[in-house]
């Protein structure tokens, strides 16, 4: 457990220093832990576990957009679990439950749990359809078609800077829509 969390902290430090691959690896590594905790939270609230992936995606978006609030001197896991807990409580509340989520829900997750590779969710996909055309195109191209920023730029005859701006705005807008819907 300790080793895993130290590894996360190291990956996040590299990510903040500009290492995109480390960031990708970190997000992949934390996802099964978040998924298991979301399932447990839903189960305890008497909700079907099939909504867990929506919650996982919301947590990942929040982690991404709030990563500047992480103090690089501090361990990464408590910061991550605080965001995850906040998003899980929000999600359960939206579904009409008042539930208190224990922070240990996240910390106690066994490493071997839920090795599921990936799963799709409906909420992000649904909100994607409401974004402005350009942001949608860019997100579609980078996320779904796994094109690089460069390829996306030439495909839509945009500059790379414009692709980056559209990508970030799209992610920020998705997060706001998920929070407020």
């Amino acid at each position: 457990m300790r080793g895993r969390e130290d590894e996360w902290t190291g990956l996040m430090r590299s990510a903040m220093a500009g290492d995109d691959a480390a960031y990708h690896r970190l997000l992949k590594a934390v996802t099964p832990v978040l998924r298991a905790a979301a399932r447990r939270g839903l189960a305890r609230a008497g909700q079907p576990p099939d909504q867990a992936e929506d919650i996982v995606q919301e947590i990942l978006l929040a982690v991404h957009l709030k990563r500047h609030t992480w103090d690089s001197e501090a361990p990464f896991a408590p910061w991550l679990f605080a965001i995850a807990r906040n998003k899980l409580i929000d999600a359960l509340r939206r579904r009409g439950r008042r539930v208190f989520v224990n922070i240990d829900d996240f910390a106690e997750t066994l490493p071997g749990e839920a090795p599921q590779e990936t799963a799709s969710a409906s909420e992000v996909a649904a909100q994607l359809g409401t974004l402005p055309q350009r942001q949608r195109d860019v997100l579609q191209s980078i996320a779904v078609e796994s094109a690089s920023i460069k390829d996306t730029a030439s495909k839509y005859s945009m500059t790379e800077g414009a692709v980056r701006v559209a990508l970030h705005r799209g992610l920020a807008a998705l997060t706001a829509k998920l929070r407020d819907h």
């Binding site: 990510a15 500009g18 290492d19 995109d20 691959a21 960031y23 990708h24 997000l27 992949k28 996802t31 992936e53 996982v56 995606q57 990942l60 978006l61 929040a62 991404h64 957009l65 709030k66 500047h68 609030t69 992480w70 103090d71 501090a74 408590p78 910061w79 679990f81 605080a82 965001i83 807990r85 906040n86 929000d90 590779e117 990936t118 799963a119 799709s120 969710a121 992000v124 996909a125 994607l128 997100l139 980078i142 996320a143 779904v144 796994s146 690089s148 920023i149 980056r164 990508l167 970030h168 992610l171 929070r179």
Partner: protein, 212 residues
């Protein structure tokens, strides 16, 4: 969209950088401050006998009290903008102005009072105080909330209350230079009421706008 795809798009956005919450909060307060100062200059102004007043320790004490509210409130609000932050170990900072006021009230009580206690407490400006501090707070409160939105507070209402405290502390610092009531009893009563009002507004608005 499946989660792997989402992660791919997040990793592609890794290069996007934003300033820290402290920098955004500072900028927002610097943008808001001229509005509060404009209200001050248009309707209040520095009291005419300020040079004499400065020789009165109870006049100076007002600034110590208001700044000992504003500065710790800024520090605590920045602390709370981190998602994993707890109030534990930080709350005592907000008691500094309370302690200062208690000391001031105590020392005034030991002096030969120039006026009876009720007159010192009621003062001449209680109504102006109750309107002016909240009015000058509002631009600063808006700025503080804007700045703190950049953070990720786990308790949005609490973070909003802190925004209220810090803006009331700053507005009260301006107001203190206008007001001719220097008794700590007056400050403890009317400044506190005005601050409580702004804090309540901050908590109510914060619970909506500081969710992330």
């Amino acid at each position: 969209m499946d989660t792997d795809q989402l992660i791919r798009s997040l990793a592609a956005d890794n290069a996007h950088r934003v300033p820290r919450v402290g920098a955004v909060l500072t900028m927002a307060l610097l943008v808001a401050a001229p509005l509060s100062i404009l209200i001050f200059a248009s309707f209040l102004g520095v009291r005419p006998d300020v040079m004499t007043a400065m020789r009165n320790p109870f006049f100076d004490m007002k600034f110590a009290v208001t700044l000992s509210l504003a500065i710790p409130a800024i520090v605590v609000s920045l602390h709370l903008s981190r998602p994993e932050a707890l109030m534990r170990g930080w709350g005592w900072l907000l008691l500094l102005p309370v302690g200062l006021l208690a000391v001031a009230i105590g020392s005034e009580a030991m002096m030969a009072p120039a006026m009876p206690m009720t007159m010192r407490l009621m003062g001449k400006n209680s109504r102006v105080c109750l309107v002016a501090i909240p009015a000058m707070s509002l631009p600063l409160l808006a700025g503080a909330l804007f700045g703190l939105r950049h953070g990720a507070p786990s308790q949005p209402a609490l973070a909003g209350a802190l925004a209220g405290l810090l803006s009331a502390g700053l507005a009260a610092t301006l107001y203190a230079s206008h007001c001719t009531d220097d008794s700590p009893l007056f400050v403890a009563t009317w400044y506190t009421l005005a601050t409580a009002l702004v804090t309540a507004i901050g908590a109510a608005v914060g619970s909506k706008v500081l969710r992330y």
